[in-house]
Subunit: 363 residues, 4 copies
Amino acid sequence: MKHPPAYYADYLHLEQILNAQTPRSADFGQPAHDELLFITVHQVFEIWFKQILHELDSVRELFLGNYVDEKNIGVAVSRLERISTIQEVMIEQFRILETMTPLDFLEFRDFLSPASGFQSVQFRLIENKLGLRRDLRQNFNQIPYEKRLSDAHQSLALKSEQEPSLFELTQKWLERTPFLNFGNFDFWENYKKAVDTMLAQDRQIIEQNPTLTDEEKTRELAQLSRTIENFQALFSEEKHNELVRSGARRLSYTAFKAALLIMLYRDQPILHLPFRFLTALIDIDELFSTWRYRHSIMVQRMIGTKIGTGGSSGHAYLKNTVDAHRIFLDLFNLSTFLIPRSALPPLPEEVQRELGFFFGSHH
Amino acid sequence: MKHPPAYYADYLHLEQILNAQTPRSADFGQPAHDELLFITVHQVFEIWFKQILHELDSVRELFLGNYVDEKNIGVAVSRLERISTIQEVMIEQFRILETMTPLDFLEFRDFLSPASGFQSVQFRLIENKLGLRRDLRQNFNQIPYEKRLSDAHQSLALKSEQEPSLFELTQKWLERTPFLNFGNFDFWENYKKAVDTMLAQDRQIIEQNPTLTDEEKTRELAQLSRTIENFQALFSEEKHNELVRSGARRLSYTAFKAALLIMLYRDQPILHLPFRFLTALIDIDELFSTWRYRHSIMVQRMIGTKIGTGGSSGHAYLKNTVDAHRIFLDLFNLSTFLIPRSALPPLPEEVQRELGFFFGSHH
Amino acid sequence: MKHPPAYYADYLHLEQILNAQTPRSADFGQPAHDELLFITVHQVFEIWFKQILHELDSVRELFLGNYVDEKNIGVAVSRLERISTIQEVMIEQFRILETMTPLDFLEFRDFLSPASGFQSVQFRLIENKLGLRRDLRQNFNQIPYEKRLSDAHQSLALKSEQEPSLFELTQKWLERTPFLNFGNFDFWENYKKAVDTMLAQDRQIIEQNPTLTDEEKTRELAQLSRTIENFQALFSEEKHNELVRSGARRLSYTAFKAALLIMLYRDQPILHLPFRFLTALIDIDELFSTWRYRHSIMVQRMIGTKIGTGGSSGHAYLKNTVDAHRIFLDLFNLSTFLIPRSALPPLPEEVQRELGFFFGSHH
Amino acid sequence: MKHPPAYYADYLHLEQILNAQTPRSADFGQPAHDELLFITVHQVFEIWFKQILHELDSVRELFLGNYVDEKNIGVAVSRLERISTIQEVMIEQFRILETMTPLDFLEFRDFLSPASGFQSVQFRLIENKLGLRRDLRQNFNQIPYEKRLSDAHQSLALKSEQEPSLFELTQKWLERTPFLNFGNFDFWENYKKAVDTMLAQDRQIIEQNPTLTDEEKTRELAQLSRTIENFQALFSEEKHNELVRSGARRLSYTAFKAALLIMLYRDQPILHLPFRFLTALIDIDELFSTWRYRHSIMVQRMIGTKIGTGGSSGHAYLKNTVDAHRIFLDLFNLSTFLIPRSALPPLPEEVQRELGFFFGSHH
């Protein structure tokens, strides 16, 4: 044998893992049956967080540098999809925790004070590495998040703020996309024409909708005006940058356009994996948002309006983060600017050839 | 054979069911592959809605009248738990719909106008029968919900508002609970003492927490004051009724107290199924809330900030209903008032006997 | 504060937990990205196994002794249902492991030899504590299961074989059920009459089924004869014991009858929680069976027909255990002997009173 | 508006859909509450079956003809992944059906006779279109499956046997893969060398494993011999064809080799989507297998060993189909022949260029 033999329990460090559950209720002489569940569920979350960080770091590494090898997009997609699968299981895991009733939680809740999930450095690292910006964070009780961490964890967290996040790396990769300029093919001009036609139709749908009252029409036309403004921002770098300053957009103008182009022409073989990459980011964002929502409602169920184990009303804070801590909202908003394939300017044949695969015989 | 033979396809009316998918994109000469999925997913939702209504109606019927047969609590719990299981599958079902990309949706989206999920009468019936009060409804574009329904469906919906809802029937059942008065045992006085002790401890935890700044302490003590106010409302019918008027509570004072007692003494055999009944209501509330959240984020993903198929921005409306349309929030808030079993006033032995089962030999 | 403060990372022993992943591929200089996932998934399984053992042991403890306090049935049901919820999440977890492709597994598979899941002592303990009998075990490569464990684990496993299993404790509890004899009410005689009527109808259904050929009828009548034989065993302790000796049944005659009675009269309040208890055992059995099935197919997918990391073809072995290692098959088979409520002998009123709850006013 | 307005209830044919549940227990004067659930669950399954057939037919169409446009692989993968997502939800759906207890089923079971799921033509079409061969089918009670269907459905089923199945189309597509011959690069010779090295190591692992007894070694070496035989079949078309004749393989020699090559070199951009295509087939096979397993165990739970609604013991039949009706087992078995990336013969640079994407600047 090339390697010394491995044994299951040693390989998995089971002694270390399975001796790490020490209920405080027992330590203080009032053993509560359900405290083990509480510990177990949180430890499993942390193990999954470590795995998510492992995948996240590996994808970030693939996107560092000035060039992303085409081979790596497939690898990155697989790893991001793995994160989504883990997230789906983590969301289901709340069902396990909710088999503990509030009354059973109460049996040991006081012993935990002031420990709190806010002290999870790994979750903060995930947020930072995905791209949650410091200035967009909800702070719990107005205390900067890192102040709740130990010194060593504070350093880790602050360091992760300095490293390029998945958001930033994705943005750079999008900005480098070579597809925005194809020789003589003027994508934007053709796209703009198609959009103008479509918006005119939308206006017509509202104006001629027999079920709407005048008041409703006024309201919906006002809404359409906002949509038109959105599109104008798409065709004007200056207006886009205003939206960025106001917080309504985050991606740079070039990156936003590149992402839109990928979404529109994703049927081209060369754009298919980039399309899956962006979709995987959307999935992750949606699933963290759902996870936070489930978390907040579980906390409400468990402790009502009483102060949390960390000495505070966690439910309201957690609910605020559901929307505020989303990272890739711009990718959701791309849907606003899609136009039907039938309205899409067709790619000239030489461009299509560029976007396909060539077999030996072509050359 | 006692009955004429049944055949699978006839029994399930499969011809009727499987011929009911008629994509409009095909009707208008531009067949879009994914429209069938869109139809299918919505039809399946509606079939589940019918099943949920079937269970809901049957449980409401069990709770009509002046007395709920003890036998029926078990039946009711099973049927409510069935609703939860259906809801869990319905939430997963969004994953199926999300395999359709926004670009694919766009291929047929215009053909659907102005159809919209807001026109689902069954969902409105579920909301009404659970107990969503007309004055608490979020109205989409300020139009009363029933105005979006056909005349026949309007009548159904308005009629369901007049019928006793599950919320109301639960309230009446709770108000009738015989457990609030047990001869000489003064539950409330003992409970109040236990609460006072606990709140004093909570204050101590905050005041002596070395990790809190003065500012934090002030904030948390203010929060504790609100908790104390909550408890005061629990001990004063007048204050409880003020909370009801302000919208912070909905259950009557007596019902609220009865629900709390069930939660606290659920280990008593006779209270175990009532406890499961209340827990099932909490689950249903949580799962509809989660369903709405998933729905809202799916809509955002699918259409960005553009107007919905019904001519309007559905995402924002749907997100508003996530919290506003919750029915059994009072049951979540009960957790605020739980005290540990160890602090619970013990039931006198003769009361415990009343709450247990007796076998022949006892008599 | 009554207790010294707790901090999240200390309380959960995160340093210990999160430093327990040491990929061997890295140790041997060929780091494979996916090995962390492999370790993580197995560690999480083991943490859940510990939690399952915690619940299992607590339920077994509740059922030790000569009397099971009625209060404890509700507690036992909740804990068994928690096990089911954990199992459901554990089954989903295979989806995470399957995001690792066979080719990625190959990058580190050789380093693991001869470690194998067969060396998981916790899984063996779960099997033994549920009630898997030594003589019914499938042995992998004809080696007794405990020979694959370390000495310390061997002792644990063998000791658990000696302790009363959940199967045995359930059997004893069923045997003590007081409901089999109700004064003058002869349940079995009435039940037997109802069964005879039903079987006669079943015979008629086959004989008069116009879609069956003579050959089919012969076959189905032969099958009915086997059903009748089953029923005969129900009415004869001697025949039941023959079935036990042959392995077709495992529960004692009295326990089997008691379980059947609980299933038939579960609408009686006092039998409702016992009914839920038996249902929870069925769920656990079904879910372990499904878990084993998913495990076996995952192994097949990962390594094809090649020998496993433990030096052997695990897939075939695992598939054999799917059926062979089921514990509560008798409870599934009870369905064979159910008769419709309408055919059930009605309980005399004084018996019903015994099975209900009484409030103060009755006395 | 370009199109007449659509209304939700009309568009979804809700009147048709929601009036198609007619419980027979009510028709025969003995309404059973749970029959609606039984109908609902089966109708939803059939609606999903229709959706699966829609996706399956569309993928088969993309693979008809002599050439599969590279663009279509991405489309096919998305549609097959959609089928998997539907299957996952369908498997969860059994949890809903299992909220019906066997006793509740009995309330209406007799009214259903002899209707049975064996009469589902859509499920037979799915099996045929995936590629279940007539001679490999398990027949229930030795009656050919189509004999249980109505005349119209029989024709549909038999016709589908004649059409090219997904299995056959995949095989043809694999056989056409241009990657098996790359100018001077002799893939097979290099691959064979790598395999020989690996098998020699496997032998060493067994021979030097200190934990194995002589008897075990003999057994495992015998097993290794079978593995070696497998590999020999991979290097000999004649032996492969023998395996096909014996039923151990189904794919043609060329297709099998092409599938292996795709699995081994899937990191090459051009092979990434083909790899995902094969993976999607594996997922579908695994999920139908799991669905069948869950189905069989649900039937056992519901009716024990009694004859099914179709007049027969469905449980045993269903369990037989779990393995026998698998279609893409060859793709699972490919894992047997994978070798680590590090042992893979590296592709010459000009071959790699062929397998990558080229941007304009390269030319």
